[in-house]
């Protein structure tokens, strides 16, 4: 499978924060969820991919091309949705069409208005009167209407109600159905990604802690619960993190079947992505 996006050894340093040795591969026809706390480095990673910030070192390739020398060509094929930035709210969907048809070579006016109709957005009203969900749908319609091959989305579901969130997740799923398109979506709402992402990449403190398929995470990872006596017998290399509660100890294990076979522990739960994330951040080694 061809990689639409490939990041190698990406580093970017700020005062008090460092994006450190980020390596990432996004295959064609898949959705990757970028998860992590606020300030973990998700947005910085997306900004680096888009070249809106200057990276210190590393290589970023999109569609097999390096961003440095092919920026315009690459950006023609990317649809971008940013959480906190879009065109002015004093513009109507009709205005946006007038602007974008000059900007993108492949801008598809017909497709754009089909999305506007599908999302039930008023064509001639300024978006400042739109609800958060409507504003997000307008951003997505704009991002999709030049037939991009890759969607880069920074927190597209934050602040939305469950129904609007569901609608938006369906759009992403539909987008990759042709097997050629891909999506990279950052979110701190991990439950959204549990439904749609093929790959989950977890960033913490500027470093990638894990990057695995959703199945690997949800089916193989486990949270074992054991007593203090049982815990003392467990080899430190057999669990990733542990969390000591009042009555028991929770262990995050990479392969719950293997762990179960080795140790006689009965309760091993199937964790959610959120639980894995919390164990990684809050747990002890």
């Amino acid at each position: 499978m061809e990689n639409i996006l490939q990041i190698e050894a990406l580093c970017k340093k700020y005062d008090g924060f460092k994006l450190d040795d980020i390596n990432l591969k996004l295959p064609q026809g898949t959705i990757m969820g970028l998860i992590g706390e606020n300030g973990a480095g998700k947005t910085t990673t997306i900004k680096s991919i888009l070249n809106t910030i200057h990276i210190d070192s590393g290589k970023i390739k999109l569609f097999g091309l390096e961003m440095k020398n092919n920026e315009k060509e690459i950006k023609e094929q990317i649809g971008v949705v940013l959480d906190d930035s879009f065109l002015s709210e004093y513009l109507t969907p009709i205005d946006i069409n007038k602007i974008m048809r000059n900007i993108y070579k492949n801008w598809d006016e017909k497709l754009y208005f089909e999305y506007i109709k599908k999302f039930e957005l008023p064509k001639d009203k300024t978006s400042k009167d739109f609800s958060s969900g409507m504003k997000m749908k307008l951003k997505i319609a704009t991002a999709l209407s030049h037939h991009p091959k890759l969607l880069l989305l920074d927190e597209p579901t934050s602040g939305l109600d469950p129904i609007a969130r569901n609608d938006i997740l369906d759009i992403f799923q539909e987008f990759i159905n042709n097997g050629k398109n891909s999506v990279l979506v950052s979110s701190h709402i991990t439950s959204d990604l549990e439904h749609i992402a093929d790959y989950i990449t977890f960033i913490n403190n500027g470093k990638i802690l894990l990057s695995k398929t959703r199945e690997e995470l949800l089916e193989e990872y486990g949270i074992a619960k054991c007593s203090k006596e049982e815990f003392e017998k467990i080899d430190k290399n057999d669990y990733i993190k542990c969390k000591k509660n009042k009555y028991d100890i929770e262990l995050l294990v990479e392969n719950k079947l293997k762990f179960k076979n080795k140790y006689d522990i009965e309760i091993i739960d199937k964790p959610s992505i959120e639980e894995i994330m919390i164990m990684y951040i809050k747990g002890e080694n």
Binding site: I53, S85, S88, I99, I103, Y104
Partner: protein, 229 residues
Amino acid sequence: MNIIKGLIVKDLLQLKSYRKTLIIFIVIMFIFSVMNQQQTEMINIFSMMLILGFGMFGIATFSYDEMSKADKYIMTLPITRKQIVLSKYILIIGATIIGGILGGIISFAIYYIMNQQIIDIQYLLYILIGEMFGIGLIQSIEIPCIYKYGAEKGRFFVFFITFLIVFLIGGIFFLYKKIVMPMENFNFIKENLKFILENYMPVILIASTIIFYWVSYMISKKIYSKKEL
């Protein structure tokens, strides 16, 4: 070129509300000018206000972009940073020139309506060129300041720097008058300077305005190429 057109269309569309204000402003100024007895002076002020108003129209787009944080999004589109800066200069310089032309036409009309005679065209052109030079100078300082410090902070810097320039120019004139003028040895230079200023002033002003804008564009381009959004 299409991309630059797209960016200018964006700026013009998002200034819809400003357009109304500008038209009301022109109408009020027009009425005020017609009613005033001192026509010639009013024409000077009227044309200057128009150039200033139209120039501000372009500068106001920075505030709109800042409010919606549009810069960050625009950078994700297939547009180079150079094109983003160039589109702003085209818009601002274009708006200022349109302001100047409109100012000239309306001033001409006011003078004709009130006096039933044609205004001295050379005088009107000198006024317009002088005003465009002044406003061009301010904009040339203002735009790089906005790129460096943002639309709000940039405005503070422009007041400071404009004050400094006025002070400097005033200082140079003062020194010239007090020190160079009384000196007899410099008569040759003084004569030549007087000749150049009297005959080539408009050309000097136009050339200086173009140079100011060009230097300003080069500085803005450099600032924006390093900017992280």
